[in-house]
C-alpha cells in the first residue's frame, strides 16, 4: 500500500534577488514498511522536500498525496535541529507527549503511552522530569524519536537525524531505528547526506541532483533484513556505496 506519493512536485522560492526554482518534477512513492533514503549535497533541496512531505511547506506545483482514500495516515517527524524543536519550558515527559497533548488526550492515557514507547525503545535511562537543557545531544535526539513515535505513526520521516551527533551515538540511534522498523513495521523516509548511514538503513536510496534538483536515479539496496553492523563490510554494501558515489561524483570529473 502506498503511504505517500509525490508526483511532479516543484518548488519555487521568491527571494529579494528573484525567483529560485529549487525542486523540479520530483516524483517519489513510499510504500508500507519501506525505508526510503534521500541523499544529496548540502543546499540541494532535501530539507525543502522534507518540509513539503511534513506539511510545513506547500509545493509550488505537483501533487503530494498523504495516505489514500481509504485511510488517513499518521506521520511522525524528526527534525534536523532536534535541540530547538524540544520545548525548553516543558520537561522531557511533557515534550514526548506533545503530539498527544495536541490531540487532547487525557493525562492517564498520555502517561501510559509514554511508558509504552520508552519501554519499546529501551530508553529507560532518560530522566523524564529533567528539562531539555539538562540532556546530552544523544538524549535529546532520543526524546525527539520517542515524541515522533508516541502517536503510533504509519511513517517516520527524519531530516538529517544523525548530523549533530557523535559517531557512537549515531550508530546507537541507527540500531534503535532498525529495531522500531522491525517491531512496528513502520515505514521511514530518511533524509541524509551520510552515505553509510543511509545505506545501512534504507531499502531504496534516491539521489537528489541538479539545479533545480530532481530524482534522476534510485538505487535498490538488496541487503536482507534484519541487518547487523557487519553488513557495512559486505561486498554488496561496498559495491552499492561505490555506485552511488560514482553517480554523484560524475559532475565533478
Amino acid at each position: 500500500m502506498s503511504l505517500i506519493s509525490i508526483n511532479n512536485v516543484s518548488k519555487i522560492f521568491d527571494t529579494p534577488t528573484g525567483k529560485i526554482k529549487v525542486l523540479e518534477n520530483v516524483c517519489l512513492e513510499i510504500k508500507n514498511k519501506e525505508i526510503i533514503g534521500i541523499r544529496g549535497e548540502n543546499g540541494i533541496g532535501k530539507t525543502t522536500l522534507f518540509n513539503i512531505i511534513a506539511g510545513i511547506e506547500n509545493s509550488t506545483s505537483g501533487i503530494v498525496k498523504i495516505g489514500n482514500d481509504d485511510k488517513k495516515i499518521k506521520i511522525g517527524v524528526i527534525f534536523q535541529n532536534y535541540n530547538s524543536t524540544l520545548l525548553p519550558w516543558l520537561n522531557v515527559e511533557k515534550n514526548i507527549q506533545i503530539p498527544l497533548t495536541i490531540k487532547g488526550v487525557n493525562k492517564n492515557k498520555k502517561n501510559k503511552k509514554t511508558n509504552e514507547i520508552l519501554e519499546l525503545l529501551k530508553f529507560d535511562n532518560i530522566p523524564l522530569k529533567n528539562f531539555p537543557n539538562q540532556l546530552s545531544g544523544g538524549q535529546k535526539q532520543k526524546v525527539a524519536i520517542a515524541r515522533a513515535l508516541i502517536n503510533n505513526p504509519d511513517i517516520l520521516i527524519l531530516d538529517e537525524p544523525f548530523s549533530n551527533l557523535d559517531y557512537k551515538t549515531s550508530l546507537e540511534l541507527q540500531d534503535v531505528l532498525l529495531n522500531i522498523h522491525e517491531q512496528r513495521d513502520i515505514a521511514m523516509l530518511l533524509v541524509s547526506h551520510e552515505i553509510d548511514h543511509i545505506l545501512y538503513l534504507s531499502d531504496v536510496v534516491y539521489v537528489l541532483k541538479g539545479k533545480p534538483a530532481t530524482f534522476s536515479i534510485s538505487f535498490k539496496i538488496d541487503i536482507a533484513r534484519p541487518r547487523s553492523r557487519q553488513i557495512v563490510f559486505s561486498d554488496t554494501f561496498i559495491e552499492l556505496r561505490k555506485k552511488i558515489l560514482k553517480f554523484e561524483y560524475a559532475d565533478f570529473q
Binding site: F79, L87, W89, I102
Partner: protein, 260 residues
C-alpha cells in the same frame, strides 16, 4: 536550593558587610559633623524616626496607596501591552501601521505628560495610575513584540508543532506565547521599578492627598529631615523586597528562561 549553603552564607556576609560600611560612614558623618545635619541627619535620629513611622498606621496607609497605584498601573499596562506586542510580533504588517505612533510616544518622557493626565483624570488615583500605565505599556508592548518576533529556533518549534497537526491557536499558546515569556518577564522587572519611581514622583507633584511620595515631600517642606530619610529608607526596602519577590517568582515559574 539550600538557604544556608556555603555560597549563600558568603553572599549574605558580603551584603551584611556593605550595610555595615554604610552605617559606619553615616555614623561618622553625624559624629564628626562632616556634613550639616540639615542635609544628612544623624543615623540614630533617622532610626528613631523610622521606628515612630513603623508604629504609625498612616505610614502603612500611604505605602498601601503607593503600592496600589504602582501595581494597578503596571497590571493594566501588562494587560494592554502584552497582547498587543504579541499580535504585532506575529503579524508584522499591523505593526507597520503602528510603528510611527509607538516610536513617537516612546520618545516623550512620561513626566512631560503629567499636566495632561491631571487635565484628563483629575488629581485622584486615576492620573497616577494613568502615568504608570502610559510608561509601562510601551515597554511591555515593545518587549512582547521582540519576544514574539520569529527567529530560526522559534520557527523550528512552530514547524514541529505544525507537523504534529497543531492548530494556529495551539501554536500561539504552546509556542509563541511561551517563547515570548522571557522578554515579557524582563519587561515586567523593568516596569516594576519604573512604576514605583513614577508613582512617587506623581505623588510629590500631582497634588496627592496620600502616598509615600506625598509623605517624603511633606517632611521635606517641614524640614523634618530625619523623617524624610526614614521614609525614603522604608520606600527603598519596599522596592527591594518587591523586586526580590519577583525574581523568586521568575525562578519558580520560568526556570528555563535563561536557556531560550
Amino acid at each position: 536550593m539550600q538557604i544556608f549553603s556555603k555560597k549563600n552564607i558568603s553572599n549574605y556576609s558580603k551584603t551584611l558587610l556593605s550595610i555595615l560600611v554604610i552605617i559606619v560612614i553615616w555614623s561618622g558623618i553625624g559624629y564628626f559633623k562632616i556634613v550639616n545635619a540639615l542635609f544628612i541627619p544623624k543615623i540614630d535620629d533617622t532610626f528613631i524616626s523610622a521606628k515612630h513611622l513603623l508604629y504609625d498606621k498612616t505610614t502603612y496607609i500611604s505605602l498601601g496607596f503607593t503600592v496600589y497605584r504602582a501595581i494597578a498601573g503596571l497590571l493594566i499596562a501588562i494587560a494592554f501591552g502584552v497582547p498587543a506586542g504579541l499580535i504585532f510580533g506575529r503579524i508584522n504588517w499591523i505593526y507597520k501601521y503602528f510603528e510611527l505612533p509607538i516610536e513617537f510616544f516612546r520618545a516623550i518622557p512620561s513626566s512631560a505628560l503629567f499636566p495632561l493626565f491631571i487635565l484628563f483624570f483629575g488629581i485622584g488615583n486615576a492620573s497616577k495610575i494613568g502615568v504608570v500605565f502610559y510608561a509601562c505599556s510601551l515597554i511591555m508592548l515593545v518587549n512582547s513584540y521582540y519576544g514574539a518576533l520569529p527567529n530560526q529556533e522559534k520557527l523550528d518549534r512552530i514547524n514541529m508543532l505544525r507537523s504534529f497537526g497543531a492548530s494556529n491557536l495551539q501554536i500561539f499558546t504552546f509556542a509563541i506565547c511561551r517563547d515570548a515569556l522571557p522578554g515579557i518577564s524582563a519587561g515586567i522587572r523593568v516596569c516594576l521599578s519604573l512604576s514605583f519611581v513614577l508613582v512617587v514622583v506623581t505623588e510629590m507633584f500631582l497634588s496627592a492627598n496620600e502616598g509615600i511620595g506625598k509623605m517624603i515631600y511633606d517632611y521635606y517642606l517641614q524640614y523634618r529631615i530625619p523623617e524624610m530619610y526614614a521614609t525614603i529608607i522604608i520606600l527603598g526596602i519596599t522596592g527591594f523586597v518587591t523586586n526580590r519577590i519577583y525574581i523568586l517568582l521568575e525562578k519558580k515559574f520560568l526556570p528555563w528562561s535563561k536557556n531560550v
